[in-house]
């Protein structure tokens, strides 16, 4: 994905949004945990996408997530990719 080193605050903000959705402490969200294992399915999933899009003012591609197999890390990568692709952005998200 993104070659630029991960900006920790951004990652923390993404984890915070996910943690709020699944009602867990951010520290409890391991990057390798699948969204399915966190109980995120169906409407929770599209709500989470909406929350992330609103929070970061980004738009995910239509087929950006498969909630059966994706992990927290997938979602972090996807947000960073979307931030990098935002018009006017030159690299990783600030």
């Amino acid at each position: 994905m993104n070659a630029v080193p991960i900006d920790e605050p951004i990652r923390d903000r993404i984890v915070a949004v996910i943690a709020r959705q699944v009602n867990l402490e951010p520290a409890a969200l391991h990057p390798e945990a699948t969204l399915k294992s966190l109980g995120i399915a169906s409407l929770d999933a599209i709500e989470l996408i909406f929350d992330l899009e609103e929070h970061f003012d980004i738009t995910f591609p239509e087929d950006s997530a498969d909630f059966n197999t994706d992990t927290v890390q997938h979602l972090i990568d996807a947000v960073e990719q979307a931030l990098a692709n935002r018009p006017g952005e030159t690299g990783a998200a600030a």
């Binding site: 399915a41 599209i46 909406f50 738009t59 239509e62 087929d63």
Partner: protein
């Protein structure tokens, strides 16, 4: 089945669809496997992610169809429903003034959201343009019962009349209610079906946010499916007590022999095969059909990741060993998903299959999916005898409504 129960005949059909005005163009398009999905036509089409849609052709001009004093009362949903009703009533050859038949005639029309175009247009005045006043006919145009009321008023039909909402199962719910009114003796004739017209910017955005829309075409039961394609239109039918139809020598297109309605009582969006299977089993029982009597199912078949395997499992559950002998097709691959009108458009396909012994195909099915292992009649219609058929409609909210049809 109670042997004393009244049987219900279908003696007229009408449609407005992405194939234009008329049930015949719709049926002929489906039978020939010709899709009506094309680029989205909308003033905001450049802004939205949806690129494809199944819309009523641009040539549709309500000002040619309705009197100048009536048109301001009609949201697009009512326009579609009135035109489809006109066609169905003409075909049935009914005179509602004779023997005061209008008093014994019901109107039941389903819709997912009702007058969405009116709501959107008038909201824009208030929120975007800062206007302080709305059009005085806003309420009577947008109420979800408006299409039923307009049909009732146009023909002097004074029996039970109301709208039915059940999201994407609205049409089948409406047709079921109409059949039950006739069976119960509360009406001899019912004008029933569904209508939808919700290509508004807010509607498109709301569907986008659900993440169930295809960014290309609609490919039900194909492993490369990418979601549903929104559609619009109306289908309206004349239902009639069989003895009433026979007494006046009417042509019966098919018998609406049974209905099944269930709720999953689970997830608001994710389908549960148990609920769908129960609705199919109920429709069979209500129609006094055994699984082996059925040759064709017009599937709900939206082309979403969730629906198609779930519906396949439900058909296995309801039909057991006969499931693999059934022909199952999704005509949404061609006319799109007209939401509250979809069951009515699909009933045109079922009536065509029963009358011409020709099963319309599932278009765009080019990659097998191991989770979808039935005979979906891929891409080309099949000439085969059809004795009885089911038409499935499932909806957000976990609502399932299934119609069972027998050939006339």
């Amino acid at each position: 089945m109670n042997p004393q129960r009244r049987r219900v005949a279908i003696t007229g059909m009408g449609a407005v669809s992405p194939y234009g005005e008329g049930a015949d163009p719709l049926w002929q398009g489906l039978r020939d496997g010709i899709g009506a999905i094309g680029p989205l036509r909308h003033p905001a089409s450049a802004q939205v992610r949806i690129k494809m849609a199944a819309q009523v052709p641009e040539s549709f001009d309500p000002s040619c169809q309705f009197a100048e004093n009536v048109l301001p009362l009609l949201d697009r949903t009512s326009q579609f429903a009135l035109l489809a009703a006109r066609e169905a009533i003409t075909q049935a050859g009914l005179d509602f003034t004779a023997n005061d038949l209008g008093r014994r005639t019901a109107v039941v029309i389903g819709t997912g959201v009702g007058g969405e175009g009116t709501r959107d247009e008038q909201s824009r005045r208030i929120y975007a343009e800062g206007s302080v006043r709305m059009h005085p006919l806003t309420i009577v145009r947008m109420m979800p019962n408006a299409p039923a009321c307009q049909i009732s008023m146009a023909y002097g039909l004074r029996g039970p009349a109301f709208g039915v909402v059940g999201a994407c199962a609205s049409s089948n719910h409406a047709l079921a209610q109409a059949a039950l009114l006739i069976r119960a003796g509360l009406a001899d004739v019912a004008i029933a079906g569904g209508t939808e017209a919700c290509f508004t910017l807010s509607g498109l955005r709301a569907w986008e946010a659900m993440r169930v829309l295809s960014d290309e075409t609609c490919r039900p039961f194909s492993s490369n499916r990418r979601g549903l394609v929104l559609g619009e239109g109306a289908g309206v039918f004349v239902l009639e007590a069989m003895e009433h139809a026979q007494a006046r020598g009417a042509v019966t297109l098919a018998e609406l022999a049974g209905v099944g309605m269930t709720a999953d009582a689970g997830d608001i969006a994710a389908p549960d095969p148990a609920g769908a299977a129960a609705a199919m089993a109920q429709a069979l029982e209500d129609a006094d059909l055994s699984a082996a009597d059925v040759d064709y199912i017009n599937a709900h078949g939206t082309g979403t990741r969730a629906n198609d395997p779930s519906e396949t499992q439900a058909i296995h559950r309801a039909f057991g060993g006969h499931a693999r002998k059934l022909m199952v097709s999704s005509t949404k691959s061609m006319h799109g998903h007209a939401l509250g009108a979809s069951g009515a458009l699909e009933l045109i396909a079922v009536l065509g299959a029963l009358r011409e012994d020709t099963v319309p195909p599932t278009a765009n099915l080019d990659e097998a999916d191991p989770a979808c292992d039935l005979d979906y009649v891929p891409n080309t219609a099949r000439k085969k005898h059809v004795r009885a058929a089911l038409s499935n409609s499932f909806a957000f909210g976990g609502l399932n409504a299934v119609l069972a049809l027998k050939r006339a």
